[in-house]
Amino acid sequence: MKKAVLLVMALVLTFTLAACGQSNNGGTNGAAANNGGQAAGGASELTGSILASGSSALQPLVDQASKKFMDQNPGVTIQVQGGGSGTGLAQITAGQVDIGNSDVFAEEKLDAAQAEGLVDHQVAVVAMSTVVNPDVAVDSLTKQQLVDIFSGKVKNWSEIGGNDQAIQIINRPASSGTRATFEKYALGMKAEDLQGSIQEDSSGTVRKLVGETPGAIGYLALSYLNDSVKAVQYEGVAATEENVANGTYPVWAYEHMYTKGEPNEVTKAFLDFMMSPEVQDSVVVEMGYIPAGKMQVKRDVEGNITK
């Protein structure tokens, strides 16, 4: 009896220590766990593992694509983790992961020296639309009106042609990639957090709050739009896939998958798969993104647009 108790206790201890050792491993040097990626197998059969982390906005897309890829290449395991763009970029520069997912250019978050060795793979485009509560009687906002709203100059919808209703801003946290995109391309300036404004991290919560709060204004990726909120035009241009692709609607950003230097064979195969029509025309579209190949305009880090 006593021996049994001892045995159980010893087992518990072993497992606790083992679990502790494992989590340490995962936390500090995740790269060690996926060395297999380098040792890619035979000519036709791909084997190895890929670890991707970063942007929670991009995570579902990469996750879906990775499932398809793993079905076709049973020798490959791909793990896609969230954590945010900052985490993804930090981990790829430190070499802890094979792919770092990000909503923003690495140069915007990292020092030039850190961003140096990273190779950018732009897999999709995400466009954002300004959304308001359905009861707000405004259909289009100019850039200046948006700036006035988000800098607190205009506090009531009646000042810009709406009904008499106080404006409630539903913003994103200052560190958010979505907010950075919106401020850069819709407002053209950095907006400060106003007293009384609401900040939410998840698009679902933003949509819920904009839909329920009278006079609310916020912004959402196109994939999150539905009947509970009203999308307003920007300078008279509606946020549609077509307008984004031909460059008339400016509020969009690339979804980046960064590798450190040139990717190894398995990672390269996966990134090629991400860009193949099989993913671009199905998963990307289904998830509400715009395929990178459809874009008729290109944009660099500084925001310069080329046809």
Binding site: L6, T87, L110, A174, S175, K190, G196
Partner: protein
């Protein structure tokens, strides 16, 4: 079996030795975990002051938080204010309810109370915080929006959600405290002709006050550290609010909102670790208060 009877003393020595080593290992493991966590948070949190040259006083008393600005400002007072106001207000709402529930369960209807009511209240502790947050966002926020001026989001909604979350903590500790009261005290009171109400009000509650306060402080500590549920209903604007129904932030919500989006090692990220350090320091303060209250216990 036969063999172990022959050497009766030996196995016991081994058992004692194994037991000692096992317990020592367990305690070592705990101590190492705690110290490494303290070291980790402290080393990261202090980087803000030593490497990024942010003034400690500015961080603790500044009211403007604008990490992306030029120059970046790291005033964490709104977060500290938000954390204290929500958790203390939550305790103010929850404590009277918890005390009354404990009195009912121990003094008024002991059998029914301990058998049915206590498990029900303890069930509240098992509900995940995201559920509390979602209920808060879907029920409390719209309700406050309709009744009070403002958007319903803010300290009041956060405190109400938290008060339900800490109710089981305070109730359980209060119940245990009341149950541990020596029956002689109560019987003496009854023998002198006091009514049940007089006994509860004059004898039971004053005697157990330090233990009840222990429960309250533990409840505040729990509320102080809660992140998800509060984040969903508080609005997260980095400002000290003008009313209970205006968007504001707590230390925890500021950390969870931005930790994943900032790059490890950047000043913004380090400042978030400084917030975590403040949070941890406050938790230690709460623990010391609890120890002090326990020493003051009259029984």
């Amino acid at each position: 079996m036969a063999q172990s009877k022959q050497h009766e003393s030996k196995p016991h020595l081994v058992e004692e030795w194994v037991g000692k080593v096992y317990t020592a290992l367990c305690i070592l493991f705990l101590v190492v975990t705690i110290f490494s966590m303290v070291y980790f948070v402290a080393s990261k949190g202090l980087t803000t002051f030593f490497k990024d040259k942010v003034n400690v006083i500015d961080l603790l008393t500044g009211i403007k938080w604008n990490p992306g600005g030029d120059p970046p400002l790291f005033g964490a007072l709104p977060f500290i204010f938000g954390s204290f106001s929500t958790s203390i207000l939550a305790a103010v709402i929850a404590a009277p309810l918890a005390f009354c529930a404990a009195v009912f369960m121990i003094e008024i209807a002991p059998k029914f109370g301990r058998k049915y009511l206590q498990p029900v209240i303890e069930l509240l502790a098992g509900i995940p915080s995201v559920v509390y947050g979602f209920v808060g966002l879907s029920v409390i926020v719209p309700l406050f929006r309709d009744i009070f001026p403002g958007q319903g989001i803010g300290i009041a909604a956060g405190a109400l959600v938290l008060s339900v979350m800490i109710l089981p903590t305070i109730t359980t500790i209060a119940t245990d405290a009341l149950a541990s009261l020596p029956s002689g005290l109560k019987e003496g009171s009854y023998a002198l002709g006091s009514t049940r109400w007089q006994t509860i009000y004059r004898i039971v509650l004053p005697t157990m006050l330090p233990a009840l306060m222990t429960g309250v402080v533990l409840g505040i500590a729990r509320a102080f550290g809660e992140a998800l549920a509060v984040q969903m209903v508080i609005g997260n604007a980095p400002h000290i609010p003008g009313s209970l129904f205006e968007s504001t932030s707590t230390l925890t919500s500021a950390i969870t909102l931005s930790m994943g989006n900032t790059v490890m090692g950047s000043t913004h990220n380090n400042a978030l670790w400084s917030l975590a350090l403040i949070l941890m320091t406050m938790t230690f303060v709460f623990v010391f208060i609890v120890r002090w209250l326990e020493r003051r216990s009259k029984i």
